[in-house]
Subunit: 149 residues, 2 copies
Amino acid sequence: MLDTVRESSTLRRTLHQRGLRMTPQRQLVLDAVRALGHATPEQICAQVQRAAPAVNITTVYRTLDLMERIGLVRHTHLGHGAPTYSEQEHRHVHLVCHSCGAVTETPTDLMDDLAERLRTETDFELDPSHVALSGICRACRDTAPDELT
Amino acid sequence: MLDTVRESSTLRRTLHQRGLRMTPQRQLVLDAVRALGHATPEQICAQVQRAAPAVNITTVYRTLDLMERIGLVRHTHLGHGAPTYSEQEHRHVHLVCHSCGAVTETPTDLMDDLAERLRTETDFELDPSHVALSGICRACRDTAPDELT
DNA sequence: CTATCTGCAAATCTTTTGCAACGGA
DNA sequence: TCCGTTGCAAAAGATTTGCAGATAG
């Protein structure tokens, strides 16, 4: 309860700071992003529509876009299909299995050494959580021998 | 010249081994993939159409799909937009800059340590060349301070 | 000759845009 | 009241599918 109230005013404040308006749709989209962890616009829309069926997917797209611009959410490319959105703070490396599509999360510090090497050797500042690493998970390796993405 | 002949028969043989047919379109698509390094289906189609304007993009999609299934090409998700196709052998890690979109390639052995850690710690078999790493390149870091993907 | 391929058109799917009406501050 | 926001419909872009005719083997 308290959480909801606090979240709500946080969102309102963040929006107002930039001359943007607080609306029920925006709260619902943010709630959905938080509830789902990382999800496609379509999944987020479905979640929002459980509470408010009239909300249009166009609004979801626009709201995700806006919230990304103001730093509340971020998107990640898990490989195939649509990008997925999650909370900005929710930073981790995604491991996606080619074969079964399972998504695992792992701390970003796994990438620290790589990031350092890229920085020194290639002058490239890695953003570890923006794209997923791709491969084959244990379960699939044990069963199916091969599979295309 | 010899190259062309040799490539041609290689493709033909590979196709015939599986009961598939050699066509001019297939040769052109494979040539385009090789010429472009890594490119979207649309870019590949444009390249093919420089030689044979009548080739339909549908054929390009179907051919890329087929060639991926038989292991001649592979696709990589560079982050935004369409996947890009390249030769199967052409394995490297892609670094994509959020800001300017530049794609750099780097040897996959940069990922060896990470791959080893993932294997032991997470039971995940990394495929280093299937997705791109995302971040900010040197040039952009020096100029624009921030930018969303 | 016959099964595979191709081109075309249309269907799908996802995302974006234009616009009039709505509603937050 | 005023301007940001929304919903709707339509546009746009990417990929897939059905089908009849073309063609490799």
